[in-house]
């Protein structure tokens, strides 16, 4: 096993330091898998020079996303908590999309729909010069009087990080005074080169201050680490007589506290679940289900079997697997017929892309290119059974054009020119408009659970048929909208040319 997660430190260790995360790379997955050396890292090579995965560093970048935003959409989406952004008001701009996601997520899961509860301390110039400890204290008081939350999260910002504001002691002081957990999270935008560190920052705070220390075990409870997606896991796990505890988004503080009582933890995307699941196992004895992610037949079979093994429900799982195969195969055969000769492209977060490509290949959709926002050569547990890239490679073969590019739209242009897909699957904003300007229909996967499990194969197939029907609309856009890119760039074959020239 790799290094143990350290919950004694107040600030989470950034992903690049823990996992060797990179944000720019060009090649195919065979090569990426070899260079990542999941097994080698898992054996504990850690910072050893032998398995360093090299990153392309270019002299040009477009904007990205920051860790604080991930904290907003995780800690900010806990139902009976309040998040305080100790930041200038601009960091609060993110509340708008995350409120929308929160509200629609609540509706999808049958909770009462309400606005997100985030308070911004609205730092000004004086605060940056003299510090704003009192402002933070008064925001904590207001959070308490306005909502009486079960917990108060505090997100730091670039500004508080640079001036060295001591958020931790203020949190400790106010926690004693008010009597609910007050949880500081270090998520300055500049702290990590990849925003997924923000997931880890939230999870770190929850693990340190919310998860119950002396749990009463519930042998049928399973933590499902997910986002806001529709409730596909409850019916699925009911077949194994298991109950779902969804975390972190849309969970209550109690749901988070009782994570230590569960019989197992599963995820749908290792990018998101890596840290929390590993720490729950290491520090609270909740086994993490170490298996390929539940996408496509091979992944879902293996995922269910491992969950069943950990929770001692093997027979139920086998029965469910057999029935489901029988149920979905005829429709999948029809979809394959309709999707014959269609080529797809996946542009999403790292592990999620591995899963989607698997589903597309189950449907016989050709996938010869994908863009991921970052790549983690290993996950926190260090267990090879979680090697999602390896699973994809072994069961579904190579993906020739595999690019790591941290939401760099200018590169996507060149990627797409190389593979000419008929459609694109995306998950995050910012990239779809370009696809549209190139005449390529894109499906924004608003419900991230759409492709999960056996039914997910059918769902995704049907979504693709829907979006292909919109081809004409996108062609009209292509014909009339001018791209901002220069002719030189548009003719450029190598999306990483600037980085390579930089090296020379």
């Amino acid at each position: 096993m790799q290094k143990k997660i350290n919950l004694d430190i107040s600030e989470v260790q950034p992903r690049e330091q823990r996992l060797g995360t990179i944000i720019a790379w060009d090649g195919d997955i065979e090569e990426l898998h070899r260079q990542s050396n999941f097994a080698g890292r898992a054996a504990g090579c850690g910072s050893g020079k032998g398995c360093r995965l090299c990153e392309l560093q270019g002299p040009f970048s477009q904007g990205s996303v920051c860790s604080e935003q991930m904290v907003e959409c995780q800690a900010g989406n806990v139902r009976d908590a309040v998040l305080i952004q100790h930041a200038p008001i601009g960091c609060g701009a993110g509340q708008v999309p995350y409120n929308s996601i929160y509200r629609n997520g609540l509706a999808m899961r049958g909770h009462k729909v309400e606005n997100i509860r985030i308070i911004n301390t609205n730092l000004g110039e004086d605060d940056v010069v003299f510090g704003a400890a009192d402002k933070l204290r008064s925001a904590i008081d207001s959070a308490w009087t306005r909502y009486e939350p079960k917990a108060i999260f505090i997100a730091t910002s670039c500004a508080t990080g640079i001036i060295g504001e001591d958020v931790e002691s203020i949190a400790r002081e106010k926690q004693e005074e008010i009597g609910v957990p007050i949880i500081p999270m270090a998520c300055e935008g500049f702290r990590s080169k990849h925003w997924s560190t923000g997931f880890d920052a939230t999870q770190h705070g929850i693990l340190r201050q919310l998860v119950r220390k002396n749990p009463k075990k519930q042998e049928d409870l399973v933590n499902v680490i997910n986002l806001w997606g529709s409730d596909v896991f409850t019916p699925m796990l009911a077949n194994l007589n298991l109950r779902v505890n969804y975390v972190i988004d849309l969970a209550s503080v109690e749901d988070l506290a009782k994570m230590s009582e569960a019989a197992a933890t599963v995820g749908f995307c290792y990018t998101l679940s890596s840290y929390l699941a590993a720490a729950l196992e290491q520090h609270f004895g909740v086994p993490e289900v170490k298996a390929p992610m539940p996408y496509g037949f091979a992944g879902t079979d293996a995922w269910l079997r491992e969950l069943a093994r950990v929770t001692h429900r093997e027979e139920l799982a086998e029965k469910y697997i057999e029935n489901e195969h029988k149920r979905v195969l005829p429709r999948i055969a029809e979809l394959k017929e309709k999707l014959k000769g269609i080529k797809g492209y996946v542009a999403t977060g790292s592990a999620y892309s591995h899963g989607l490509i698997q589903v597309l290949r189950e449907l016989d959709v050709e996938v010869n290119g994908s863009l991921v926002f970052h790549h983690d050569p290993v996950y926190d547990s260090g267990d090879e059974k979680e090697d999602s890239l390896g699973h994809l490679l072994k069961n579904y073969g190579n993906v020739e054009n595999f690019h790591v590019s941290n939401r760099q739209q200018y590169q996507l242009y060149a990627f797409l020119q190389k593979v000419h897909p008929d459609f694109m699957l995306i998950r995050h904003n910012g990239l779809a408009p370009l696809a549209s300007r190139l005449g390529i229909p894109a499906a924004p996967l608003g419900d991230e659970h759409i492709a999960i499990g056996y039914q997910g194969i059918i769902n995704l197939g049907e979504t693709i048929l829907d979006i292909l029907a919109r081809k004409k609309f996108h062609n009209s856009i292509k014909a009339h909208v001018k791209l901002p890119y220069t002719d030189w760039w548009i003719k450029q074959k190598d999306p990483y040319i600037l980085a390579r020239q930089n090296k020379i």
């Binding site: 990205s64 708008v96 008064s138 306005r146 500049f190 904003n429 220069t486």
Partner: protein, 446 residues
């Protein structure tokens, strides 16, 4: 602006003024900031990426290393390479909190590119320095000082007597900015002016910005934001300005606005065809009142309840403009009003007076409060007779449901409404407000 905490914000920090760059055709914002700033701004406003803005703006994506050693080297490379990758007529560098605290000297860096003949402008927009209402003016003034001035020899000051520069809706912060600017331009052109609208599809892009000095005078439609632009122009080009302190919505205020501009031009001896201009106003007004008559018929014959009073939660220009319009042209009575734009204190008195001029008999209670979470608590506890209407932002949808109000989303953030080219200003804008309000009422009709 060391203000208090804010919940449910209705504006954003200074770097939000990147949208003012996005709104200039073929201008390129370059962010010297943390990695999330562009995406934050993009998320706050709807459909706001434009030509090459939002998260696609070139950005230095500050990391620990830039925080410790400064980010000038990285910025230099990014600017140089943005010329290779992106076509643009004007580059505007905006700084974030990181660059602001670290103290990078972006001006000297910009000089290097200027010497090479690049049209490049720098603006300090660290989030803790100000908000986007204020920084919008900073962006405009920076472009005038660092770009427009380069072309001053080809554009003699006040050389075109019938030309005006218009400063009104802040792009994207006013979700109706495109429609409003188009309306102002059209109306003023009908009076005989040539109008530099500067932002949006009606603008000629940088060519128009180069010609700002030629204008005879400036028109400001705003209670306070943007005022420092016209004052600056008065200082450097001696262009006087005409100020109209709220958005002219409907016939009363639009006529007042247009007559005001005409009178101002007359004072400057601008040779317009004044009778023709008056005739245009008359005809536009007559067409408007024909529809108001239709509305009256609807109001009188509708049996199932109509909103009788309104709360507005918006910026000062809209609160006053909408309140005046609603009282006089739809009969909906303005009750407690809330201005959430962080109005500087020195403008608050004149805004109060402007709103109060609505009626000699009625007092309209007005609160200036940027913490809209607090505003919602106030509204939650107000009780009036009759059916209420709330005009606010997407944040207020839930409150409206709670209170049983009809709800119009007319302020950012506005995730529940698609606005493409709709405007609320002018004669047609007033009719559109009526359509929006009474369509909402009709949607509740069984």
């Amino acid at each position: 602006m060391a203000g208090k905490m804010i919940e449910q914000e209705r504006y954003t920090c200074a770097i939000g003024a990147l949208q003012s760059v996005v709104a200039i055709p073929k201008a390129l914002p370059i962010l010297h900031s943390g990695p999330g700033c562009g995406m934050m701004v993009r998320g706050f406003f709807e459909r706001s990426t434009g030509y090459a803005g939002g998260s696609t703006s070139p950005c230095t994506n500050f990391s620990e290393s830039e925080v410790v050693f400064g980010g000038i080297e990285k910025l230099r490379k990014i600017i140089a390479n943005s010329y290779k990758i992106l076509n643009s007529d004007l580059q505007v560098i905006l700084t974030g909190c990181t660059a602001g605290i670290v103290g990078d000297d972006i001006d000297s860096l910009a000089d290097e590119f200027r010497e090479a003949g690049r049209p490049i402008v720098t603006v300090e927009t660290a989030g803790f320095k100000s908000n986007n209402f204020v920084a919008h003016s900073d962006v405009v003034k920076a472009i005038i000082d660092q770009y427009t001035n380069i072309f001053i020899n080809d554009n003699p000051v006040r050389s075109e007597k019938k030309t005006i520069n218009l400063f009104a809706s802040i792009p994207y912060q006013d979700q109706f900015w495109k429609g409003n600017l188009r309306t102002y331009k059209y109306l003023l052109e009908q009076l005989g002016f040539k109008v530099h609208v500067l932002f949006g599809p009606e603008s000629d892009g940088v060519a128009e910005w180069q010609q700002i000095p030629r204008a005879n005078f400036n028109v400001l439609i705003s209670p306070w934001y943007g005022q420092s632009i016209v004052e600056h122009l008065e200082n450097i080009y001696e262009q006087p300005f005409f100020k109209f302190p709220h958005i002219p919505i409907g016939a009363n205020e639009t006529e007042k606005f247009l007559h005001g501009v005409l009178k101002f031009a007359e004072g400057l001896n601008v040779r317009l065809d004044y009778p023709k201009a008056e005739n245009f106003i008359k005809r536009a007004s007559a067409a408007y009142y024909e529809e108001l008559d239709n509305l009256a018929t609807f109001l009188l014959e509708f049996r199932y309840g109509l909103p009788s009073y309104v709360h507005i939660i918006h910026d000062a220009g809209y609160v006053t403009g909408l309140a005046k319009f609603l009282l006089h042209e739809t009969g909906i009575v303005p009750k407690e009003q809330f201005i959430v734009d962080n109005t500087p204190e020195k403008f608050q008195q004149s805004i109060r007076e402007d709103l109060q001029s609505i009626s000699a008999k009625k007092i309209v209670p007005l609160t200036f409060e940027p913490d809209a979470g607090k505003v919602q608590d106030i509204v939650r506890n107000i009780v009036h007779e009759g059916r209420g209407l709330l005009i606010g932002s997407g944040w207020d949808k839930e409150l409206s449901r709670e209170k049983g109000f009809d709800f119009i989303s007319a302020s950012v953030p506005s995730p529940y409404r698609l606005v493409l080219s709709t405007g609320y200003a002018g004669f047609h804008g007033g009719l559109r407000v009526m359509e929006d309000i009474f369509n909402t009422v009709l949607a509740s009709y069984r």
